[in-house]
């Protein structure tokens, strides 16, 4: 009798301590900037944190490194139990993170890796090199049969964004398989209006561009605009179609691929990234050892299979 009572008490104590433990946990979420795919990850983080019963403090740095620094310091002051951070610029917030480390707060970097940091305990994010590679590979498969010199337009993201740099690297690696290809690279700073202008001008200078790679698929509508302008708007499979691939997984990319304008996009798994970030934080708070690098490669979908996979695409509405 007393044994049963004892275990009931033990379980109750465990339950209540877990409850109170969960109630006590506050996660500090430092976001670099609010835009569509970032919101996708932060929403996933918020959902998972809510599920775990954590309190969440969100701060947004609006693209300013200094602001992010002080915001992280503010999180440290507020004695959060863990910090999830996506850095404005992967090199900028070291000071604040070291402050966190000194205060004993575990730090999980998400989406942007901080390889040189002395304070980050774990990273979860996309495998941008493999994402770029996948998009490039599909492009190569489409262009393989063509003879003569092939000109390809690459719309670069922001040149100080590691994900943009890595996507470009993967893409270029894939294109090495084609012997006679020339890649025209134009920077867009992730801005669609600039992508529009860059694409327009690129096609002016090289009317015979056979393929376009967009580092973010939100720029695909701009590509559509230009191709319509110059009467080169042909769907997948049609004669004269310009191969278009991209990385991200937004609604723009989804729609363009579904309708057969774009050949395919790499969809990042934002939900899993968000969940994993919170799980890593939980593990670190509990003092467990975690893997330092947790990359989540995206999935490549073509116009054929994208609609059936709609549920897994974060941007698809």
């Amino acid at each position: 009798m007393s044994k049963v009572l004892g275990s009931i008490v033990a379980i109750a104590m465990l339950a209540s301590s877990t409850l109170s433990f969960a109630k006590d946990i506050t996660i500090g979420l430092s976001v670099d900037q609010l835009f569509e795919s970032r919101v996708g990850v932060t929403d996933a983080i918020k959902a998972e944190a809510a599920k775990q019963g954590y309190k969440l403090i969100e701060v947004v740095a609006d693209g300013d490194a200094q602001t992010q620094n002080s915001q992280i310091q503010s999180l440290v002051t507020q004695e959060v139990d863990a910090i999830l951070v996506c850095a404005v610029d992967q090199n900028t917030i070291e000071r604040a993170l070291i402050g966190a480390k000194r205060a004993g707060i575990p730090v999980v970097a998400y989406d942007r890796a901080l390889p040189d940091s002395r304070a980050v305990d774990a990273f979860v994010g996309p495998d941008s090199i493999s994402d770029g590679l996948a998009a490039g590979q599909h492009m190569v498969d489409q262009l393989k049969g063509l003879s003569g010199d092939i000109v390809v337009l690459e719309l670069l993201g922001a040149l100080n964004d590691q994900n943009g740099i890595d996507r470009s690297k993967g893409f270029n690696d894939a294109l090495k398989q084609l012997p006679n290809v020339e890649i025209v690279a134009m920077p867009t700073d992730w801005d669609s209006a600039r992508a529009l202008a860059a694409t327009q001008n690129a096609f002016q200078a090289n009317p015979d561009i056979k393929a376009v790679f967009a580092a973010t698929d939100t720029q695909i509508p701009s590509i559509e605009t230009v191709l319509t302008d110059i009467d080169k708007m042909k769907s997948v499979g049609e004669e004269g179609h310009v191969v278009v691939t991209g990385v991200n997984g937004s609604n723009d990319g989804y729609e363009a691929t579904r309708k057969g304008f774009a050949d395919g996009i790499v969809v990042m798994d934002l939900a899993l990234t968000g969940q994993t970030a919170v799980h890593l934080a939980t593990a670190l708070i509990n003092g467990e050892k975690v893997e330092m690098t947790n990359v989540i490669p995206g999935s490549f979908y073509t116009s054929e299979n994208i609609e059936s996979n709609k549920a897994t695409i974060w941007g698809a509405k």
């Binding site: 609010l34 970032r38 919101v39 134009m186 209006a193 529009l196 701009s222 937004s250 609604n251």
Partner: protein, 332 residues
């Protein structure tokens, strides 16, 4: 010949027109892709957004004011339009709301400037921050696509002419008429020349001031819809920062920031000129970071040349005056 020279040099937009021509010639020599019909057309279409806004900005600067919140107005207008479109599917609602809102935001700027007498730069700095915050609040930083058909506004052609260029032409003509052929236009320039005297001569300074900011808002609203159509939907931060390009276009076009002197023709050519620089650098495959340096140098050069020619003109006028006095006194 002197008469000819005089009328020509009194055209304030001459300098920028010549500069644009020179740049065009230089680019066509350097790149074969430049002087094609489709490239020129593409330059004009690209310039349409800033050029339309420049027309509105000209009115504001002519009164001696300035509006650095235009980019935020663009951002908010686009956000509002996209949101209404996606929630109601009604074009008429979205269009009216967007244009109406753009005018309203402009009116708020004007009202604040007139009522509180805080200089326009500070007022519009404050409203820039506010409008931007409101826009992000409205959409939660989401990208919202706009329907396919909307693309017509940005990419379509009417009678063979791209829609944006047509819209620019309409705004341009209306602006010219308003500025040069109406009393309103006269008042605008009078206020810019001296607000004090304008008030003393009982001009409706307050109303005119509010109205120019409304015009600024209206042109921004139109530009917002074109840009929205061209990029396919609301993208984060769309339009933020564009006001500096617009101001540069207006100043390059020969309008003085102190007010009272300037032309709409100059502002539009100025907008085209800036796009030409981008276009040229793109065609030349220039390093992405050179763009800013080139634009900065060009801007400085333009202002210096303008100042030098102004001084020379002033000197010339003084000399002529002196000559006339000399000759008349000589005869007497």
């Amino acid at each position: 010949m002197d008469r000819f020279k005089q009328t020509f040099s009194s055209k304030k937009w001459l300098a920028i027109a010549l500069a644009t021509l020179a740049l065009g010639i230089a680019l066509s020599l350097v790149s074969t892709a430049f002087l094609t019909f489709s490239n020129i057309q593409s330059v004009l279409v690209q310039a349409s957004v800033t050029a339309i806004m420049a027309v509105g900005m000209t009115f504001i600067i002519l009164t001696g004011g300035i509006d650095i919140s235009m980019g935020a107005i663009l951002f908010f207008t686009s956000s509002l339009f996209a949101k209404i479109m996606v929630e109601t599917g009604s074009y008429s609602m979205a269009f009216t709301a967007a244009i109406g809102c753009a005018c309203l935001l402009g009116a708020v700027n004007g009202l604040l400037v007139v009522r509180f007498k805080i200089i326009p730069l500070i007022t519009t700095l404050a409203t820039y921050t506010m409008y931007r915050g409101m826009a992000i609040h409205l959409t939660g930083a989401q990208n919202i696509p706009v329907p396919r058909e909307m693309g017509f506004l940005g990419n379509g052609k009417l009678m063979g002419i791209p829609v944006p260029i047509l819209l620019l032409a309409i705004v341009f003509v209306l602006g010219l008429y308003l500025l040069n052929k109406t009393r309103f236009g006269l008042y605008v320039k009078a206020i810019g020349n001296s607000e004090q005297s304008a008030r003393e001569t009982n001009l409706p300074v307050n109303w005119v001031t509010i109205l120019v900011y409304v015009i600024g808002g209206l042109t921004t609203g139109i530009a917002a819809l074109i840009l929205l159509a061209r990029v396919g939907g609301l993208q984060s931060g769309i339009g933020i920062g564009i006001e500096f390009t617009v101001i540069a276009a207006v100043v390059l076009g020969g309008t003085k920031l102190s007010g009272g002197s300037g032309t709409i023709v100059g502002s539009v050519i100025g907008a085209v000129f800036l796009v030409l620089i981008d276009n040229g650098l793109n065609l030349l495959n220039a390093s992405p970071y050179i763009y800013d340096i080139v634009k900065g140098v060009v801007l400085l050069a333009a202002v210096i040349i303008d100042k030098v020619s102004f001084e020379r003109q002033a000197k010339h006028l003084l000399e002529q005056k002196a000559l006339r006095i000399k000759s008349t006194s000589g005869v007497a």
